[in-house]
Amino acid sequence: MRVMVLIKANERSEAGEMPTQELLEQMTAYNEELVKAGVILGGGGLHPSSRGVRVEFAGSERKVIDGPFAETKELLAGYWVWQVRSMDEAVEWTKRIPNPMNEHSVVEIRPVFEVEDFGDALTPELREKDAQLRAQVEGS
């Protein structure tokens, strides 16, 4: 199964504070572990939300909002995509992440939907549409 592992932001990451060399070294060693275990498919760190943009949808209206955004705990500072056998394995790998914020940090693990997960509700027509969307997102 695939999971997305989300590192939540905090005040310091949102303030644009860069990770220390020590943390970068620890993270590199950890990433090396993941690569050597064949677990990692992709990932990256995210700039603070002050460099982000949101688009809000209300009916047919679209509103573009520039960052920063207020609800720090809900924001992201980085992510990985892993291939693991189970959520338990994902949890075990996650416990081994070097503390990403040097203080209170939250890392969330979310299974990635597979087409099969939707069952019959996803008709062949909807599958088709879903596939087109995926191609736009992933193939860009």
Binding site: K36, D88, E92, R127, E128, E138
Partner: protein
């Protein structure tokens, strides 16, 4: 932590650590069977102790230390006096101390374990079972389930394999430079066999078989990190990533297989495509000799780079098949090459190439030869001959869906033949 949670944690830790644990123990005792026992004993100790004491901070190190102590106990109890002296030397080098990645003794151990599990003294079935067991940490039941075999049969196969290795006194070592390529070929073959078992079984409702594909991919990725300079390892990884990227598009909603050129490319997994192309780059970048896996990955990459089937670089595919035919002369490769030739240079050139294959006894009964001929003849407007070839192909295939499709094509050729002749 509740007991049930501890148990699940232990299982997850086992999945992550078991291969290294067995590999490390095998270095001490020079016997994979015994090494697996020691690793299992460490696991049992964890199941007994962790619910009371809590899960240690570094569970891998805890398990390794426990396996090591048990191993040393075993060695102390061993009677043979002379061997004891050697063993003391080994005990001294056996430790767990997370050294830096370069010359990491544990990665070397893992590599040794890969080579021993895929050793040529074992039958292919035994290599596959042992690899899944020792390197992927699958249980006997899971392996039996994946291969639709009975659990006792798989258990037997594994026991016998370990005994064979022990009786043949197979050394626990990475083959020397001269032998490496040859032995590596066996390792890559096993990984690819596991992959194909998963890849070709996706139409069943057997859920663990796609997992086999993931296991093989994972083994390939691990091996690529252990042997970064071997082009073929990256070639195999590239081939597997690219093939796996098409899993979603290969089967239609009605359960039929969809041929590569007919696949909806938007359904390919573009994350895996990207990884496959990157692995292929790594294969070329090694500067080492290019082998069959890299060439096949190169062919797969030509398809992956084309957003539409019409954009396929067929001339490059023909050139890659030329290379493949030189490395692995086989009528099946020639036949595939002929298909590419047809796409690149027109059906007549391809038909000429196929003519040479018609008398080849190795293709007797192979339905794809008349299928390809029929296809080329149809393109050339020789419909009566095409119909005969499709009919012949229909007789040769055992797959009912395929037979129906071929008979349909034969009928269509006959109909258009009649209307053209009128």
């Amino acid at each position: 932590m509740a007991r049930a949670d501890v148990r699940r944690t232990i299982e997850a830790v086992w999945r992550i650590e078991s291969a290294r644990l067995i590999a490390g123990a095998a270095r001490l005792v020079r016997d994979v069977g015994l090494a697996e026992d020691l690793a299992q004993e460490a696991l049992v100790a964890a199941l007994e102790e962790w619910p009371e004491s809590g899960v240690p901070d570094n569970p891998g190190a805890w398990l390794m230390a426990t396996a090591k102590h048990r191993g040393i106990d075993r060695l102390r109890r061993a009677d043979v006096h002379q061997r004891k002296i050697e063993e003391i030397g080994r005990i001294a080098e056996f430790r767990y101390d997370g050294e830096p990645a370069v010359d990491d003794p544990f990665d070397d151990d893992l590599l040794r374990l890969v080579f021993i599990a895929c050793h040529p003294v074992l039958s292919t079935d035994a290599r596959v079972a042992l690899t899944l067991r020792l390197l992927c940490g699958l249980t006997t039941r899971e392996i039996a389930h994946a291969y639709l075999a009975s659990e006792p049969a798989v258990a037997q196969r594994i026991v016998r394999a370990k005994r064979t290795l022990s009786a043949a006194r197979v050394p626990f070592e990475i083959p020397g430079r001269h032998e490496l390529r040859e032995r590596l070929a066996s390792v890559l073959e096993v990984i690819y066999l596991i992959f194909n078992e998963g890849y070709s079984a996706t139409s069943g409702n057997d859920l663990i078989r796609p997992e086999l594909m993931e296991e093989a991919l994972r083994l390939g990725r691990i091996l690529a990190e252990l042997l970064p300079r071997e082009a073929e390892v990256h070639g195999l990884v590239a081939l597997m990533e690219l093939q796996a990227s098409r899993t979603r598009a290969r089967i239609s909603p009605s359960g039929d297989q969809v041929l590569l050129l007919d696949q909806d490319r938007s359904r390919w997994d573009w994350l895996l495509v990207g990884r496959g192309l990157a692995a292929l780059e790594r294969a070329y970048a090694t500067g080492g000799p290019i082998g069959p896996y890299t060439l096949q990955a190169g062919i797969a990459a030509c398809h992956s780079r084309a957003r539409r089937a019409d954009d396929t670089d067929w001339e490059r595919i023909v050139a890659l098949y030329d290379g493949l035919a030189q490395l692995m002369p086989s009528p099946v490769v020639e036949l595939n090459r002929a298909v590419a030739v047809g796409m690149a240079f027109g059906p007549q050139t391809a038909l000429d190439a196929v003519e040479n294959l018609r008398g080849d006894p190795r293709l007797d009964g192979y339905h794809l030869l008349p299928t390809v001929r029929g296809d080329l003849l149809e393109k050339l407007g020789r419909r009566a001959e095409a119909a005969a070839e499709f009919g012949r192909a229909a007789l040769l295939t055992a797959n009912t869906r395929q037979r129906a499709a071929l008979l349909e094509r034969a009928a269509a050729c006959r109909t258009s033949q009649r209307s053209a002749g009128r």
